[in-house]
């Protein structure tokens, strides 16, 4: 847990109090945070992170693109002062309002009161919530911008790309037309701290890049695809994200990687025509397992549906999350133990925030002894995760009889036909949605 900065690396590019020129007239003015190990509660990092902020100088003034986390404001201002005066700053672009990039904003606005803020059209409410402006201090000087909007610095042009939900509603990217630099915000970023700063100089950060995507961007895959459509046609020399290495060597590789990571691989393999139901269960004495098998058999009768059956006890959560991401429907079986579903079920359900579950179909079942709360609790959680639960859960008291196993098969068939009724084009009745 020793700070990495204790030993100033001989090959350091980012040095205290100095900015780093990453393209003609474009400077990195960010901050290094080498001792950080946990970010936003949900992410880990083995060597810290950086808060990248940039300055662009034109013949007609200076633009600052994003700021840094509040604790690192001193580093940021020292680096600004090494390349610009505050009275030259005309423009402050905020690609993302999360506090790791806006912590130093109030102080920057105080030092450069003439500067105007440029935020995405989706960011107004967020900006007001962040700065909580006082009415008597006069209105905030900001402008909202969308795809294709430009602001000029004389010989330099900043052009905006509207890329919402990467990973907040307010996010956007900013493109410096003349130099082919994309200031991408958290997109293409990673938590990786290296004083060598440039992707072709620093250590191997591919793991950190994929990990960041998996935890931050993955829930927003369709928005990533929309953003890539705007980004891919741009002539690009450098991608300058808000965290981690600056991607100046073959920047397109990272765009390609985002496209790969955002494309569902399972669908490619089994074909888009086929639908998929995954059944997971936990079972202490085999009753819920017997139910699961019968549900599987019933669902399998539906043509065009691939059904998979797994005992949660036998696997790790992560690959199961991948499976669920590319499935159309998820059925979970749990016995009721002490008035609740069992922990592996909750562990699985609480790991699903990294994928988009919206509209996936959910169903719950399980054996119980006298109260049987588990099934209803799983259904409620599924609804909370924005899944639809059109078929009411199935409970069996203790050991299933042959008749009850028939009910399980019928339950499986009902789930299967609810999946099939989601076909495009058909008019669905509201009551069917559950």
């Amino acid at each position: 847990m020793m700070p990495l900065q204790a030993e100033p690396a001989a090959r350091a590019i980012a040095k205290p109090g100095e900015s780093v020129e990453i393209a003609p007239g474009v400077h990195w003015i960010g901050a290094l945070d080498p001792t950080l190990r946990t970010f936003d509660i949900i992410l880990r990092t083995a060597n810290g992170t950086t808060y990248n902020s940039y300055m662009v100088r034109g013949t007609d003034g200076v633009a600052i693109i994003d700021t840094v986390k509040a604790e690192f404001a001193d580093d940021f201002f020292a680096r600004i002062e090494s390349v610009a005066r505050y009275d030259e700053i005309r423009i402050i672009v905020l690609n993302h309002l999360e506090p790791d990039h806006t912590g130093a904003l109030p102080e920057l606005m105080r030092r450069a009161p003439q500067a105007k803020l440029y935020i995405s059209t989706r960011a107004t409410a967020m900006l007001k919530a962040l700065l909580k402006p006082k009415e008597d201090k006069g209105p905030l000087a900001f402008e909202t911008v969308g795809t294709g909007d430009e602001v000029s610095l004389g010989d330099r042009t900043l052009r905006f790309l509207h890329t919402p939900f990467l990973h907040w509603p307010d996010t956007q990217c900013t493109y410096l037309v003349e130099e082919g630099v994309l200031f991408s915000g958290d997109v293409f970023g990673c938590h990786y701290c290296d004083t060598r700063l440039l992707n072709d100089r620093c250590g191997d950060f591919r793991f950190a890049f994929d990990y960041y995507y998996a935890h931050i961007m993955r829930p927003f895959k369709t928005h990533v695809m929309d953003a890539l459509k705007l980004i891919e046609p741009l002539p690009l020399k450098t991608i300058a994200p808000t965290h981690g290495p600056i991607l100046r060597d073959r920047p397109r590789r990272y765009i390609t990687r985002y496209r790969e990571l955002s494309t569902a691989s399972f669908a490619d393999k089994i074909g888009n025509e086929e639908r998929s139901l995954i059944i997971f269960y936990m079972s202490a004495y085999g009753s819920t397992a017997r139910m699961a098998e019968a549900i599987c058999a019933g669902a399998e009768e539906q043509p065009g549906l691939r059904v998979s059956l797994y005992d949660l006890e036998g696997g790790e959560t992560q690959p199961f999350v991948d499976l669920i991401e590319s499935a159309d429907a998820l059925a979970l079986g749990s016995p009721t133990i002490n008035g609740d579903a069992v922990k592996p079920i909750w562990d699985l359900l609480s790991s699903l925030a990294v994928i988009d579950l919206k509209g996936k179909l959910g169903a719950a079942f399980g054996s119980y002894g006298w109260t049987g709360e588990a099934v209803r609790m799983i259904e409620d959680r599924m609804r909370g995760l924005k899944m639809r639960v059109p078929v009411a859960g199935l409970r069996v008291k203790l050991i299933p009889t042959d008749e009850e196993l028939d009910e399980c098969r019928a339950f499986g068939r009902d789930i299967a036909s609810a999946i099939a009724s989601g076909e495009k084009g058909r008019v669905i009745d509201f009551a069917e949605l559950g």
Binding site: R122, A125, P169, T222, G425, V427
Partner: protein, 94 residues
């Protein structure tokens, strides 16, 4: 009860709903691409573009108008957590 059809053009699905249902209630269950935040007409996250049947939704409230303005809504945008469906319409995420 009067019924109305709402089509979510991003996923090409149509649902027959009781008149008065809010767009959010349907889009969430069917899995359309509209995203939600506060669910009470404050955050603007659920902005939805109405492609057809603009007049078949309840009128926006003063508060909704304000949030739409703040989020630079275009002319036929609504908040899905506020607008209630009165007749046939077609929507997609804004």
């Amino acid at each position: 009860m009067a019924k109305a059809k709402i089509t979510f053009s991003d996923i090409d699905q149509t649902v027959n709903v009781p008149a008065g249902t809010r767009i959010i209630e349907v889009s969430e269950k069917i899995g359309a691409g509209i995203i939600y935040g506060c669910r009470e007409g404050d955050c603007g996250t659920c902005m939805t573009h109405v492609e057809e049947g603009w007049n078949n939704l309840t009128e926006p409230s003063v508060l909704e108008e304000k949030v739409l303005r703040e989020n630079m809504a275009s002319r036929h945008d609504r908040l899905a957590c506020q607008a209630q469906i009165l007749g046939d319409c077609k929507v997609k995420p804004a």
